[in-house]
Symmetry: C2
Subunit: 234 residues, 2 copies
Amino acid sequence: MIDMRRWKHVFKLDPDRDIDDMALERICLSGTDAVMVGGTSGVTFDNTVDLLSRIRRFEVDCVLEISDRDAIVPGFDLYFIPIVLNASNPDWIIGHHHLAVKEYGPMMQWDQIVAEGYVILNGDSTAARVTEARTELERSDVEAYAKIAERLFRLPVLYLEYSGTFGDMELVRRTASSLQDARLFYGGGIDGPEKARQAAAAAHTIIVGNAIYENLDRALETVQAIQDVEKGCL
Amino acid sequence: MIDMRRWKHVFKLDPDRDIDDMALERICLSGTDAVMVGGTSGVTFDNTVDLLSRIRRFEVDCVLEISDRDAIVPGFDLYFIPIVLNASNPDWIIGHHHLAVKEYGPMMQWDQIVAEGYVILNGDSTAARVTEARTELERSDVEAYAKIAERLFRLPVLYLEYSGTFGDMELVRRTASSLQDARLFYGGGIDGPEKARQAAAAAHTIIVGNAIYENLDRALETVQAIQDVEKGCL
């Protein structure tokens, strides 16, 4: 059984973006803790199953972050379900989830499902537009969402998503420290080892996504950077 | 520490409705498992604290169901926080909760807080109008909400609220059976011992509210009815 509580570093691959075999091999053999498949737009059953089958040639743990209920592909190790806490469109808090559970409920293996409490923090991102997220948040707003995620909804993951911009590390650090059991996933703007070290010092788990497509060598260096942080070589 | 998992019968008192001392005494000494204070409209700090102080003359467990963050009164045994799963206004899923936690978070005793996943099923009720609830639900919709409440949000209570009408007991029974850990609270239309027996055979916990104000003697008979069900005298 996969223990996502031990993850420090995750690569996130978007089924809607091209990656060649050599690059995919380097990602999968990088020493990352897991590969997460997910994206905000253009994710289909076909491009998801295609990417899964290519990743499955390697031993790395591979999980799906579900963004479209038509693209739920069997065969992943875990299924992450985002609950967008600061969405103003309730479909992204519970609506899509309700339809998915109504349709697939009897087939769902609940021990493979991880609910993530998302807070989307970059108002210019596609994710913010799609979910109509309220991104004008004070630190105290984020801290309140963290409490709701962990104490009211009892979610195992709080995901602070800055999508393409590097976030407020002091906020990330304080929020992570305030959690008792939930894990804080941080994503956004980790374009190389320096940012990876900073984010890893603040969050429980860092997610590296865009950098894979923009500068693969520097993206790969983030894995080693995390291992350095772990060993106290910061 | 109060164990709400053992509750079979609860009386719900509305701070916005009048109840005289004699009636209140009979409610509190009735043998009910708990008195819940809560209402949908007209609930204020003043009428809540007034009702609490009158109930506190008795030994019965007394809990507050929070419907307005300006009416959170200290001194209750537990605080129930409704999360209206079928609200189409996200304020009733997470918005009011977020503001309340932002304001009161540091003072909150989380071990006294119980999150309830509400499904509002009477479209003509005040609760449905206030929360803009989607009440045109099939049985499979309710069953999906139950799974979301328990498995995704890990809420300890699923509350099926028929507000003033007597619900679909077959649906209540099936939904209660589908839960693994969460408790099913049923409210609506329990106007006397016959309905109480039917509801108690379907739900884990029944809530008797309006009957207190409409026919107190029959409301009080629901307590004995539950005890008869418990003893197998149905």
